[in-house]
Amino acid sequence: MPTRRTILLGVGGTAGALVVGYALWPNGRIAAADRIDAATGEKFVTNWIKVANDDTITVVIPHCDMGTGIFTSLTQIAADELDSDWRRMRAEQAPPDTVFANGAMIEGFALNGKTVPPFLTGVAANTFRFMAANVSIPGAGYVPQITGGSAAIRFTGMNAIRVAAAAAREMLVKAAAARWGVSPGDCTTKSNRVIHAASGKSFGYGELAAEASSYDPSSQPQLKDKSKYAFVGKPVQRFDTPRKVDGTTNYGLDAKQPGMLYAAIKISPVFGGKLKSVDESVIKGQRGIRHVVRLDDAVVVIADRFWRARDAVAALMPVFDDGGNGKVSSSTITERRKAALNGKDIKSDVKTGQGAAALRGKIIEATYQVPYLAHSPMEPMNTTALYKDGVLEVWAGTQDGLGGRDFCAKAAKLPIEKVKFHLTPMGGAFGRRLPGQWNYLTYAVLTAMKVPGVAIKLIFTREQDTQHDFYRPNVMSRFRASLDKSGMPVAWVNDYTTDDDPNPQAHIVYDIPNQAIGAALVPTHVPTGAWRSVEASWHGFFVESFVDELAHSAGKDPLEYRRALLRNAPRHLATLNLAAEKVGWGTPLGAGRARGIAMVESFDSIVVHVAEITIDEKGSVKVDRIVSAVDCGMVVNPDGLKAQIEGAIVFGLSAALKGEITIENGAVAQSNFTDYPMVRLAECPEIEIHIREDDGPVGGGGEPGVPPVAPAVTNAIFAATGVRIRELPIKNHPLKV
């Protein structure tokens, strides 16, 4: 049976015709874009590029804003190709319409060669169904508007918006040249004008847009040389910042509709459980309560105000069955993981040289484990939905607007034309709002369908948000290795558990001649999903911990050891060396202090973190400083990239130090920031980021900073204390200097 990952690869195969260049829209689709999204005085020239008659250029972005700043970065790319004045650049969210489906994403993933990204595996089936259920766009297949996989710049930016902007410039030049009866080669562009230097004539882009859009776009326009970029590579300020410091950005939670009601929900605590009964009499007569809605696995209370709905649903005490999962706990899951790694059903993913047969002499063995983790973005899940006169209208933050619209249509059993979807800015996502994790849409839509005629805003409390997430999986990984006489590994054998398919992120860049890497499938009833950096978040910890263990076994410095293993990986080596140089690796630190290093490549970017820690007399760990080196090929917005790496470090630290979702009696034991705590300002280390630019492939920025955090810290803890932490989080381990 094909796995979800191979199904998606198959889709990539059918889109193979797009290998050369990026398919620009035929004119018919441009006209459709104009009908849907061009205001008076605006005209689409090519995909994503809209020109107004005051020469302003708007980049229509087939992604969402969840905080990473891509609206600004993608606009920088377009501004350079169009020789625009920055003050006349705008960015706008693409409507959730099939006309604005983003082919570049799936294309990028498919053509990138290696494999389909793991963040899509949880959604591939859904995406595939979505594609199959809708009219295919000739030449491009049907692909929605996913934001994820650290892909906005490297795929949409480099393969779609850059090409579309360059083609638009060519078409604007062609239109001007035709008016003047001169050769396009004699024209130049500057500050939103086409200029014919010989005659001194010029036209603004706005005057040319209509004619320009009538030409067939070239799928291989002349792209600007990197050395001529005016905006790419510069720390441009984000468009969205002013509205994020004065409280005027309207997130999903802030949706307002006339007469709107509010809903609170209680979902079956045990995943897979169903609602058996609910006694409404206990809330009878409470102020503002309008409806109690029974769903298959949840009960929803609708009231005139949220706090009234919240208090009422808390008082209801609904009864759920446990779906047969009531006896599952973290300990039973761990036992199953152990049994699987000791069993025979391990699917081989990598075998080089003699594989496991090369294990000889003294074998070094270690088993690691990471817990489930919730995403816990600051804005709890919420959706506002209104079903009226046969039309469903939805306001929600999702990491795919068009996919979200389709999902709501299917949940409501309506044709997609009968669904209006308003994609809102998101108060964080980190994977939580990806397709495949849309329980908050489902509950809101089903509720709205049962109570038509009025807008209902369903808000998860933090407790429901924590207990009904799609978690970063709990994973166990076992390594065995043997070393040669000089202490270098000759055999690397790694088996790990997985909830679905083998993880490409378990593959290693280190030069070890005999490797055997395999995966044991151990699905559980706990829903899992992509969590910022996905499988790199666990394999980064496993691999970088075990390499560190091997270095110490060999009596070698962990940095030198990695250097020796990277002799055939010059980019990795250079990034490693940059971090080591900047942190002053080898210079002495005070008592109780130590450094740890870790390097992970993910999403085509290489990130090295060196953590400096202090263990105090009570055994608590303080991370004092993290020095980071990043190589993501070309950088569009260096300040934006730094912000993403800083954020990834803090995100990774919360997980490494404290993060743990456990299962008791089939349900999540944690509920809020009291028992699922986060790093706050007092625990935030000094962070220094050094960017290494090279001509490598353009890598992602949002996620690759996360994976090396945990191993950098645990490797430092080993250096300080001799304690090797093989199970996260760190808080569970007693330490002393």
Binding site: D240, P242, R243, K244, R305, G428, R462, A643, V650, R680
Partner: protein
């Protein structure tokens, strides 16, 4: 069941229970949605407002308990234009998703009103708001700059 609140200088007479959480009264009765819901138990600080100039977590503040107080939300922080804190947030490009930043800015503004030159330790002690995007390094940089400023 009338609660009288003065929010951003405007008096409101509201038909709500005394124990109604100030956060939801501000958002859903008065309609000011710059103040955010994050946890509901005073852990994360996304709901921070000023009550008589002091930072307070509105999600656990009963509306009836702050009658007669001067309540300020992010919308009322500045009468015109941006405050120095908001400007520093732009200069340092602090926000990512931005959701926690209303609360952060309110908390930092209250700190600076009391202590115009906070040390890093003062800041870390006073600001316990959670930001999941991890903007703390930039908040620290912005406050270091504000702490150096005259006045």
């Amino acid at each position: 069941m009338t609660v009288r609140l003065k929010v951003n200088g405007v008096e409101h007479e509201l038909d709500v229970e005394d124990e109604a959480p100030l956060l939801w009264v501000i958002r859903d009765e008065i309609g000011l949605t710059g103040t955010k819901f994050g946890c509901g138990i005073a852990q994360c600080g996304a709901c921070t407002v000023h009550v008589n100039g002091k930072a307070q977590r509105s999600c656990v503040t009963p509306a009836g308990s702050v009658q007669g107080a001067e309540i300020t939300t992010i919308e009322g922080l500045s009468a015109n234009g941006l405050t120095p804190v908001q400007q520093a947030w732009i200069d340092h490009q602090v926000p990512q998703c931005g959701y926690c930043q209303s609360g952060m800015i309110m908390a930092v503004s209250a700190l600076l009103a009391k202590n115009p030159h906070p040390s890093d330790d003062d800041l870390a002690q006073a600001i316990t708001n959670i930001c999941r995007c991890g903007t703390y390094p930039r908040i620290r940089a912005a406050v270091r700059e504000l702490a150096k400023a005259e006045g």
